[in-house]
Structures are given as structure tokens and as C-alpha cells.
Symmetry: C2
Subunit: 343 residues, 2 copies
């Protein structure tokens, strides 16, 4: 490895793209009820990971940020802005349960006389060996699991106070701890959103890349030739990411192994007499397959790029664009037949 | 499709195998506390799926097995023998939460004035769109979720009675319903266990196929040339199975795309003078790579099959088998160096 390499840009032509853009954590500053990033000893799980690392800022000794003391009690908070449609996101971030349990175990290994508390709504350990890991955390490491999401976290002298309710006992909780580790929701990274826009990929409302079919075609983006791996699609752990990445590779190989690419015969066609060159179709096309000819002022279709999605036909105000082999009258005939009453 | 085809056996030579043996449900007869399969209106989720199917025995009308009546109340029980190390299995079966929620929604669509109750420990909806689906079940379909695993299920007249505790309110529950749908734990199918034995694959204590590394090599079985897809590895849903199957395909392509297969230079070697032909090595080898020559009474290694795992060397009572390029004295030298005290 040549460490003297600086960043550089290179233009390369490719036949396929695998989008593997990963994630960011929901920023602490946007979580006011837990201190909004202002309480030094309330950190996120990635920051805690650094405190655990031998190559990290504390040389692997867990020290809390405010005064460098070894924290004798730590609260781990699952479900921060995940499954919280009122303040955050509706979805589950998928891996927080497992990595927070791991971090709690590592904390207890580092500070054996320390106390670890885990606040959760549901514990999600569906994966090979995951339940066993969670069992170990409770049995061997004496980590206290409390069902209930903290309502507030505040500074209290040199302690951090966690307010909440134990929903199993019904007791209200005010717990003073030395440090709090949050597992904020996973969100698509901002740079990913830029790339996704550039690739004209379809996404869901949160910015995760949309697949062609969640169950049957989870590896293919809506744009052909583009495949998805890892958290770009939605939060998933390393096991699932590695398996999916191999799957995406096989889809690329499949694409490249064909001597010719067979296309669906349904592609857009422009009636030049009707086309006013308004350009609505050009804006609607995700594949850059239809463009207004600047001289003729008439839209023209690049048959090799067209995916036959019909967005241009729907956008065309004059009906000049239709899909070859799938004209409106064909569609109407199908509707008539489907709704015909039989005796 | 030629439906007149009968079953037939064919011997084919292959260069790689993808093990995709699926699963069975934990049998109702082994669940005495829920009636042990003796209560006709306590069925498992697969049987309920058939009741929902338009091509099923009831033509898609949900009718309970005992008397064919349309059930006006149904209890759906998550976590039957999953995460229950005392009576069943420690692991989580991964998909029950989602398919039981689906079945409850389909029941409510089929019987809009029916009541659906869902008994759970943790709700596990970590997957794209899964939490949204669960939300819909609660909001739009009015399915009542009760946190607590039923203790017993008994026949009560023409009703089925579910005994349990709501662990959130602390209330004990005796609920009379027309039918109960259980989600028993997923277990490897018996035929899979036979095949796995034949392929000499490593498995975990439950019979799920062991992968080379859960995070980094989840697609490769411990025996090279054999890959894993789907629930053969551990319970996973359709999305993950499809992604993993594509991944397994790419591993096969990777294997086949090489003009020559490169092997590790560490393979077993037999010192013929020391070998007593006891055959312990033969029994220990997972790859059938070492065999006692019946004439010479000395073990011989098939270098092409040997994976260099060292099982034979460990099993050899006389020390006649060692690994080429990884002799015992090399290993000892490494231990000495690793434990040497530096000044």
C-alpha cells in the first residue's frame, strides 16, 4: 500500500454499477430530548466504539469524554429515533440491538465492576447465534435490560440522568449514570443521496434505494444495469451485506456473460407529427433515453436506453409518445375484456 | 410442463453443490402445553395459510377444522418453542413475527367482524417496509397485540381457551377464541439432515449448516465446493434467501471461472515408517482425502481432496500424520516466539 497516494479523479466507462453507499447515524444535535449533543457524556454508539478501540483516542481504556474518568455505570439506549414516526423515522434500523449488546459486553469486560443498563422496546436478535449472544449478555455479564424508551436525558451534576418508565413493572425510572451510549437511527449518507440523484435511482421516502421487487429481485435497482449491496437498500448487518454483495456480483456477471443483451420489445415511440417538442418526456425519463432534438424540435428515443417504463407516454400532454407494442388502444382492450361481465 | 413425469433418479457429476434444503416446523404433537396437536382448532401457520388460499381445502373461506364454522375470533401465537431453551430451541426463528402479522391481516380481510389477537414476546420487524406493515396491522386492522407467551391452550366446550399473562399490564388472561394459529419454531428438515450427513457438512447443534465465517464467508460451507442458500443455514426470509442464493451462484461461477484451482500448500503427509494403519485419520477426515491402503496397511493422502484442516494429524496416535509446510516443530516455534518475554 502506497500511503503517499493523494485523492485523484479518473473517468472510466462501465457496463454495470453496484451501489453500496452505506449509511450515517441520525445526528445527535437533532435529538433535543436526549441533550441534542450538548451533554458531553451522552455519545453515540460509533463514538463509544472508538473508546473501546485499542487504536482509539483513549488507547482502549473506556474513559468518559467530560473528565476522562472511567465510567462506573453506563446506560445503553436502543431505538433512538427508529420506529418513532412522530420525531424520527418509522423503520427499524435493524442492527442497533445487536451492536449495543456487543458494546455493553465489551464495556463490562473493560470495567468488570461497572454497571450496564440497556433500554429497549423490543429486543431483535433474529440471526444465527444472535439470541445466544443476548443470553450471554444477561447471564454472564449481568447487563440489566429495561423495557422502555427513556423520555429524557439530562445533565445532573457530574452524572447523566435518564428519565423513563419500565413498561414491564410500570415503575418510573430516574437513573443516574456516568455515561449514556445512544443507538441513533441509521439514515442514508448525504453523499449517497447525491450519487443516487445523479444515477436517477428510485428511492423510498427515506432515501434508501428502491429494488425492483423486495422479495423476488432485491438486488436490482429500478434502473437496469445498476445493482444494490448493503445498507444502500436498507439497514442490514455484515452477514446479510456480504451475502447480498456476492449476489450483486453474480447479477453483474450474468449481465456480462450474455453475448447480446435481449430487450423487451416494448419501447417508447414518438409520433413526430404530433410532438410539439415541449420536453416533458425528457424530464420524466429516468434513463435519459428520450431527448428533444434541438434542430427538429421533436423528441427522439434512444432505443438502446429505453426501458419501456412508460413515464414519457404518461407525461406527454399531446399523446405523441406511446409505447410500441403496447399502445393505449391495446391497454383499453385489456381493460374492457377484464371488466366484461360473463353469463 | 409434462405432468405425466414420474419421479426418477439420475446420476450426474458436478463441480459444486449449493445446499438449499429449507426447513420444517416444530411438530404440534411435541407441544403438549398447547394441546399437542389434539385440539382440532389449534393449527400451525402453514395449515392456516392453506385455509386462506383460494386453491385450498376451503376455497379460500376461513373455516375452522372442527366444525367448518367461520371463526369469529382467532389467537395468533408467536414464539412457539423458539427462544425457549427449556422446552425447545434457543434461537429465534426469524420470520414468524412477519408471517403471523400477515396472516392476521388476511384473516381480518376475510372476516372483517372477526377479532384477532397476537401473543408475542418481542415484535421483530427489522426489514424494509416491515415496521410499516406491523403499524398497518395495529392501526387499520385493529389487531390486538398482547405481550406475553400463553402458558397453556385448552379446549373449552366448542371454544379454545388461551391462558396467559399480559406482561405489560400484569393482568392474567383467559381468552376464549374460536381458533388458535401457532408459529412453531423452524427446524431443519429430516431429509436435509440425511443429505448433510452424506455431504459430511459441519452443522451447529440444531442441524443448521455451518458457514466458513458467519460475517465474512456466510455463503461457503466448511467443505470447499459446497455453498449454502436459504434456511439451510438458519431461518431467513424470502428477501434474504433470494439475495443469498444469487450470492451462492456467484461463488460457483467464481470457482468455475478459474482455469486451474489453486490449493493451499498445507496438506497432510503420512510418514509411512511410523503409520500403523489404524485408520483413525480416515474416520477423522471430512473430505475422504486420507485412506488406509488395504494392501500396504499404511494411510495415503489424496492431495487433490485434502483441505489441510489437520483433523487427521490431531487424530493420529503415533504422530505419523503431519501437515506439510506446517509441522509440529513450526507450530511450537511460533508458540515460543509468541510467548517470549521482551525487555
Amino acid at each position: 500500500i502506497d500511503h503517499s497516494f493523494g485523492p485523484f479523479y479518473e473517468e472510466i466507462e462501465v457496463g454495470a454499477i453496484v451501489v453500496a453507499t452505506g449509511f450515517e447515524l441520525y445526528p445527535l444535535k437533532d435529538i433535543p430530548e436526549y441533550g441534542g449533543g450538548e451533554i458531553p457524556d451522552v455519545i453515540d454508539a460509533l463514538q463509544f466504539e472508538r473508546l473501546l478501540a485499542a487504536s482509539g483516542p483513549t488507547g482502549g481504556v473506556v474513559r468518559r469524554p467530560s473528565d476522562g474518568k472511567i465510567p462506573k455505570s453506563v446506560a445503553f439506549v436502543h431505538w433512538v429515533r427508529s420506529r418513532d414516526p412522530e420525531h424520527g423515522l418509522l423503520y427499524c434500523s435493524g442492527l442497533c440491538c445487536m451492536y449495543l449488546v456487543k458494546e455493553a459486553i465489551l464495556y463490562k469486560q473493560s470495567v468488570p465492576d461497572g454497571k450496564a443498563f440497556s433500554f429497549y422496546i423490543d429486543i431483535r436478535t433474529n440471526g444465527k447465534g444472535y439470541e445466544e449472544f443476548y443470553e450471554r449478555a444477561r447471564e454472564n455479564y449481568d447487563i440489566v435490560f429495561i423495557r422502555g424508551k427513556p423520555a429524557r436525558i439530562v445533565q445532573n451534576g457530574d452524572k447523566v440522568q435518564v428519565w423513563g418508565t419500565d413498561t414491564l413493572t410500570g415503575n418510573t425510572i430516574k437513573l443516574d449514570v456516568d455515561m449514556v451510549v445512544l443507538a441513533p437511527a441509521m439514515i442514508p449518507s448525504q453523499s449517497a443521496l447525491e450519487l443516487i440523484k445523479k444515477l436517477r435511482l428510485a428511492t423510498d421516502e427515506y432515501g434508501w434505494v428502491k429494488e425492483q421487487h423486495l422479495k423476488l429481485r432485491p438486488l436490482e435497482a429500478m434502473t437496469s444495469g445498476i445493482f444494490i449491496a448493503g445498507v444502500a437498500q436498507y439497514p442490514k448487518d455484515i452477514t446479510d451485506t456480504v451475502a447480498q454483495a456476492s449476489g450483486a456480483a453474480s447479477k453483474v456477471l450474468d449481465l456480462f456473460s450474455q453475448p447480446q443483451i435481449k430487450r423487451s420489445p416494448i419501447i417508447a415511440r414518438v409520433d413526430a407529427d404530433m410532438c410539439a417538442g415541449c420536453g416533458y418526456c425528457e424530464k420524466a425519463c429516468a434513463y435519459e433515453a428520450i431527448k428533444v432534438d434541438p434542430v427538429l424540435r421533436v423528441s427522439q428515443v434512444n432505443a438502446a436506453l429505453c426501458e419501456g417504463c412508460g413515464a414519457c407516454a404518461a407525461a406527454c400532454p399531446s399523446g405523441a409518445v406511446q409505447l410500441t407494442n403496447f399502445f393505449k388502444n391495446q391497454l383499453l382492450a385489456m381493460v374492457v375484456e377484464a371488466t366484461r361481465e360473463y353469463e
